[in-house]
C-alpha cells in the first residue's frame, strides 16, 4: 500500500456557502468524498466558507458549491464577486478540482437571467449563460443520465433556468433527461478541473468513479506521485480506480462499490437505458467477482 511509503495524506475541502446553497441534499457529495478518502487512509478536512469569508487558495485542495434558490443566489453572487472571486479564480487556474452543482454551476458561468428582475452576474469561469424563461416554461425535473468519460453519470435534476454553452466544454452528453437546456443534449460544463453540473441525487454517491476522479485530481495536485485515475490509456477503466501509468505513480485503492454500481445500474434501468445498464453492471461486476 502506498500509505506505507508516504506520510499520512490529508486533503482540505472548502465547502462554499454551506448555509445559503444547501437545498437539494448536495451534502451527500461531501459525505461521499470524506468517506472514500477515509477508507483509503486519507484525511479529508471540510471547511465551510460562508458569506464574508475569504478564500485563500493555498489552504484548500478541493472546492464544492451546492445549489440554492434564486433569492439566495443574489447575496452569494455578490460575495463571490467581491470577496472570493480572486481566490477562486487563482485556485481554478491552478487546476484545483472544483465541483459546482446547480445554483453553484450557474454562478460560475457568465450570468443568470431570472424570469423577472435584473441579471445576476456570475464569475465567468465557464463561458456559458443561463436564462430562466418564466413560469410558463416547465422546469427541467427528473432523473437524468449522461455519458461521461466512457461511462455514465446518473442523478436527479430540478432547474428552471436553461444554460447555454458558449465556448465551454460540456461535462457530458445527455442520454436521458434535460441537461443544460433540454435542447442541445449537453449537460454541465468543464473548465480545467472545474466541473459544473445540474445533477443532484446527490451526484457522487451513485457515481463513485466521478468521486474518485475528483479525489485523484486533488491528490495528484498536492502529492505529485499520485496519478489521476483517468490519465490512463484505455477506455475500459470506467470505475476510475486503477491506473497503470507507471510504477512511480500510485493509484487509489479500489473500494467495494457493488452497492454504488447497483444503484447506478438501477437508475439507468429506470430510465430505460438497458444497454448502458448492462455495460455498467458487467464492467463493475467483473471487477468484483474474483
Amino acid at each position: 500500500m502506498t500509505q506505507n511509503m508516504t506520510p499520512p495524506l490529508t486533503l482540505t475541502l472548502g465547502h462554499l456557502y454551506p448555509d445559503q446553497l444547501n437545498l437539494y441534499g448536495d451534502r451527500g457529495n461531501i459525505l461521499v468524498l470524506r468517506r472514500r478518502c477515509q477508507q483509503r487512509g486519507i484525511e479529508l478536512r471540510v471547511v465551510g466558507l460562508g458569506i464574508g469569508d475569504a478564500l485563500a487558495p493555498d489552504e484548500y485542495d478541493m472546492l464544492f458549491i451546492g445549489g440554492g434558490q434564486d433569492k439566495e443566489e443574489i447575496p452569494v453572487a455578490q460575495d463571490l464577486h467581491d470577496i472570493k472571486g480572486i481566490g477562486l479564480w487563482a485556485a481554478i487556474e491552478d487546476d484545483m478540482p472544483v465541483l459546482a452543482v446547480c445554483g453553484g454551476y450557474q454562478l460560475l458561468a457568465q450570468y443568470y437571467r431570472p424570469a423577472s428582475g435584473s441579471d445576476i452576474r456570475g464569475l465567468g469561469v465557464f463561458d456559458a449563460w443561463t436564462i430562466h424563461k418564466g413560469a410558463r416554461v416547465p422546469r427541467c425535473i427528473g432523473d437524468i443520465a449522461i455519458s461521461w468519460n466512457g461511462s455514465t453519470l446518473v442523478g436527479f435534476e430540478n432547474h428552471g433556468g436553461r444554460t447555454y454553452l458558449g465556448t465551454a466544454r460540456p461535462l457530458g452528453k445527455v442520454l436521458k433527461g434535460h441537461g443544460n437546456n433540454s435542447e442541445d443534449t449537453t449537460e454541465g460544463a468543464i473548465y480545467r478541473n472545474t466541473y459544473g453540473t445540474y445533477m443532484h441525487g446527490s451526484l457522487l454517491p451513485k457515481n463513485p468513479h466521478f468521486a474518485d476522479h475528483l479525489i485523484g485530481l486533488a491528490l495528484r495536485r498536492k502529492y505529485d506521485i499520485w496519478a489521476t485515475p483517468d490519465t490512463g490509456t484505455t477506455g475500459e477503466r470506467t470505475n476510475g480506480t486503477t491506473s497503470t501509468d507507471g510504477d512511480t505513480l500510485a493509484s487509489l485503492t479500489p473500494l467495494d462499490d457493488t452497492l454504488e454500481w447497483e444503484a447506478h445500474t438501477s437508475l439507468l434501468e429506470k430510465l430505460g437505458l438497458h444497454n448502458q445498464a448492462v455495460a455498467t453492471w458487467q464492467a463493475h461486476n467483473a471487477v468484483k467477482v474474483s
Binding site: N158, S202, P205, H274, V278, T280
Partner: protein, 559 residues
C-alpha cells in the same frame, strides 16, 4: 322483532333521537327531517326472502368459520361471497335493516382515514358505529361485514344496527350506492394512480357519474371542491350537495419557493364542459386547488365547509381553522389533526363535512378528530407473530429494529436527494436490524452505507431484480444444475441461487419479502419500527391487510 322487520320512518327518527339526545338537541329535529336516507325504499321483507337471507347468513358464516379454522385466510371475504351465492341481494336485504342508515366513503386516496375520522366523530356524538374492514371494500367484503353482524334468521343483531360506514372501492361505487342507499356519500378525490388498475381516470369518473345518477335524491352528496373531477359530480345530482375545500392562501404551492412539490407535474384535467384547460389560482397538493377553466369560466364551487387556515403544529400534527356555512355561524373552529400532511387536512375536512351532513355539531367533530387514534402513522401498534410492529413517519432514536420504505412516487416526491440531509449517522450502532425497501431501496442503502452502516448490517430489498443481472442469473441457474449433478448438498445449492451475482447479498424483492425479513430479524417480544414514505406506508398497510394484521376499528369499538 316486528319493529325491526318493518321499520317505519317515525321509529327511525326516534332511534336517531335517542342516539343523539345527549349532545345537540335542537339541531336534531331539522337534521332528522332531511335525513331519511334509505327509508323510502324500505319494505318489510317477506317470509321467503327472510328464510333465504337466513340461509345465506348461515352459509356465509359457516364458510367463514371453516376458512378461519383451516387457516385459509381471515375468512372475511369468503363469508360474503358464499352468502351472496345463496342470496344475491343479501347486501340490500341487510342494509335496509340499518336503522341509522349508512355513509359511503370512496375515492382514490384517503378512504380509510376519512372513514376512521367519521367513525370517531359519530362515536363521540354518542352513536354506535360499524365499519367494514379495511381492505374489504369490494362488494364481497361489504357483504361479509353485514353478514357477520346478522343472525341466522336473516336479521341484523341489535348490536349490528349501528350507523354503518362503508369504505368502498371506487370501481364498485355504482353497485354499492344502489344497494345500500346511503344517507351520505363522500367522494374524496380522484387521482391518476388509478390508471394502472382501471385503465384511465376518465373511466373511473364515468363510473362515479353513474353512481351519482343511481343515488336516491335523499342522499346528501359530500364532494371535494378542490378536485375538478370530483367536484363536477355535484352538477349531475339533483339532491343536496355539500362541498369541502381549502381556502388558505398560505398553503398555495405555486407561491412557495423551493419546495419539491412546487415542481411536480400537476395532474391537470380538462374542463368537462368545454374541454378547455384549467388554470389554478392556488394549488395545494397535486391537482387540488382553486381551478378555473380558461375558455368557459367554469370554476371550483364555493365550499360549504372550508379550512381557512392550516399549519403544521409538530412534525406529525396539523392545526387547522375550519368554518362552515352548514352549522350556525360561529368563529372558525380550531382542530388539531393528529396526522401530518395536507392530504390529511382533506381527510379531516371530508369527515367533518360528512358529519355535518348528518346534522352533527362542532363538539363531536372537534373531539372526534382530535382524539382520533391513527389507523396508521405514528404510534400504531400491530402484533405480528409475537413482535410488536409500529408504524412511524420519521425515525426515533430508540428504534433497534427498523424497516425503511423509501418510495419516490409523485405523492412521496420524485427526488430522493433529501435522504442525504437526514442525519442517519446518529442511528449507527443503535440499530440491530436495518431493512431498506421501496422503489429507492438502493439509494437508501447507499445513504446508510455512507452513514457508516456496513452492508452486512443491513438487508436491502428493492422491488425487482436488476435486468442487467439476468444473464448472470441464468448462468447461476446453469451452475446450480451443474452442482446438482455433481451431488453438492442442497443447502449450498440454494445459497448459490439466492445470492445476487456479483454481490454478497441474497436476492429479496418486494414489500412482502421486506416485511418478512424485518419481522424475522426482530426477536420475539421486541418492537419493529416501520419508517415509510407516504406511498410506502400505503404499501405496508396493504401488505398487513392481506395478512389480516391490521387493527380493526369497528372491532375495537363494538366488541
Amino acid at each position: 322483532m316486528r319493529k325491526q322487520r318493518a321499520p317505519r320512518v317515525g321509529s327511525r327518527i326516534n332511534n336517531l333521537r335517542t342516539g343523539w339526545q345527549k349532545r345537540n338537541i335542537h339541531r336534531k329535529q331539522k337534521a332528522a327531517e332531511r335525513l331519511p336516507g334509505n327509508s323510502l325504499r324500505n319494505s318489510p321483507p317477506n317470509r321467503r326472502t327472510t328464510l333465504r337471507a337466513g340461509l345465506a347468513v348461515f352459509g356465509g358464516r359457516a364458510a367463514g368459520a371453516l376458512s378461519r379454522r383451516l387457516h385459509l385466510g381471515g375468512g372475511t371475504s369468503i363469508t360474503g361471497l358464499v352468502a351472496q351465492k345463496v342470496y344475491p341481494d343479501i347486501v340490500g336485504h341487510l342494509a335496509t335493516q340499518l336503522e341509522f342508515g349508512s355513509v359511503v366513503v370512496t375515492g382514490t386516496n384517503g378512504k380509510t382515514t376519512t372513514s376512521a375520522f367519521i367513525s370517531a366523530i359519530l362515536s363521540d356524538a354518542g352513536l354506535r358505529v360499524w365499519r367494514n374492514r379495511e381492505g374489504s371494500n369490494l362488494m364481497g367484503g361489504i357483504a361479509s361485514s353485514l353478514v357477520m353482524r346478522a343472525l341466522p334468521n336473516g336479521l341484523l343483531r341489535r348490536a349490528g344496527q349501528a350507523m354503518t360506514i362503508f369504505e368502498v372501492d371506487e370501481a364498485v361505487v355504482p353497485q354499492v350506492v344502489e344497494t345500500v342507499s346511503p344517507r351520505v356519500a363522500v367522494f374524496t378525490n380522484l387521482f391518476r394512480d388509478q390508471l394502472d388498475r382501471y385503465g384511465e381516470v376518465d373511466s373511473v369518473a364515468a363510473l362515479w357519474q353513474q353512481a351519482v345518477s343511481n343515488l336516491s335524491i335523499d342522499t346528501i352528496l359530500v364532494l371535494n371542491a378542490d378536485d375538478p373531477a370530483t367536484a363536477n359530480l355535484g352538477e349531475l345530482f339533483a339532491g343536496r350537495v355539500l362541498y369541502f375545500g381549502i381556502d388558505d392562501p398560505a398553503l398555495d404551492l405555486t407561491k412557495q419557493q423551493g419546495t419539491s412539490e412546487r415542481h411536480q407535474v400537476s395532474d391537470t384535467r380538462t374542463c368537462p364542459r368545454c374541454g378547455g384547460d384549467y388554470t389554478y389560482d392556488m394549488r395545494f397538493f397535486s391537482h387540488m386547488g382553486h381551478y378555473r377553466c380558461t375558455s368557459c369560466g367554469h370554476e371550483r364551487p364555493q365550499p360549504d365547509v372550508r379550512v381557512v387556515k392550516a399549519k403544521t403544529d409538530d412534525f406529525d400534527r396539523l392545526r387547522i381553522g375550519i368554518s362552515s356555512s352548514v352549522l350556525p355561524a360561529t368563529q372558525p373552529r380550531e382542530i388539531v389533526i393528529p396526522l401530518p400532511g395536507i392530504y390529511n387536512v382533506y381527510n379531516a375536512l371530508a369527515a367533518a363535512t360528512a358529519a355535518q351532513a348528518l346534522g352533527i355539531g362542532w363538539e363531536p367533530i372537534v373531539t372526534g378528530i382530535e382524539q382520533f387514534k391513527p389507523i396508521f402513522g405514528r404510534g400504531e401498534r400491530i402484533q405480528v407473530e409475537g413482535r410488536t410492529l409500529r408504524l412511524l413517519f420519521s425515525e426515533e432514536g430508540t428504534a433497534r429494529h427498523v424497516l425503511f420504505v423509501l418510495n419516490n412516487n409523485i405523492a412521496d416526491g420524485r427526488d430522493v436527494s433529501w435522504i442525504w440531509d437526514v442525519d442517519f449517522e446518529r442511528t449507527v450502532g443503535q440499530t440491530a436490524t436495518l431493512v431498506a425497501a421501496g422503489s429507492r431501496a438502493l439509494d437508501l442503502a447507499l445513504r446508510l452505507k455512507y452513514a457508516g452502516v456496513s452492508q452486512e448490517e443491513m438487508i436491502i430489498v428493492p422491488p425487482a431484480p436488476l435486468r442487467a443481472t439476468k444473464r448472470d442469473r441464468i448462468l447461476n441457474n446453469h451452475n446450480k444444475r451443474a452442482m446438482k449433478n455433481s451431488n453438492t448438498s442442497d443447502t449450498v445449492v440454494t445459497e448459490t441461487i439466492k445470492r445476487i451475482p456479483g454481490t454478497k447479498r441474497a436476492g429479496r424483492y418486494g414489500i412482502a419479502e421486506a416485511l418478512d425479513a424485518a419481522v424475522n430479524l426482530t426477536p420475539v417480544g421486541e418492537t419493529l419500527f416501520v419508517v415509510p414514505t407516504y406511498t410506502g406506508l400505503l404499501e405496508i398497510h396493504g401488505e398487513l391487510e392481506r395478512r389480516g394484521l391490521t387493527p380493526h376499528y369497528w372491532e375495537d369499538r363494538d366488541s
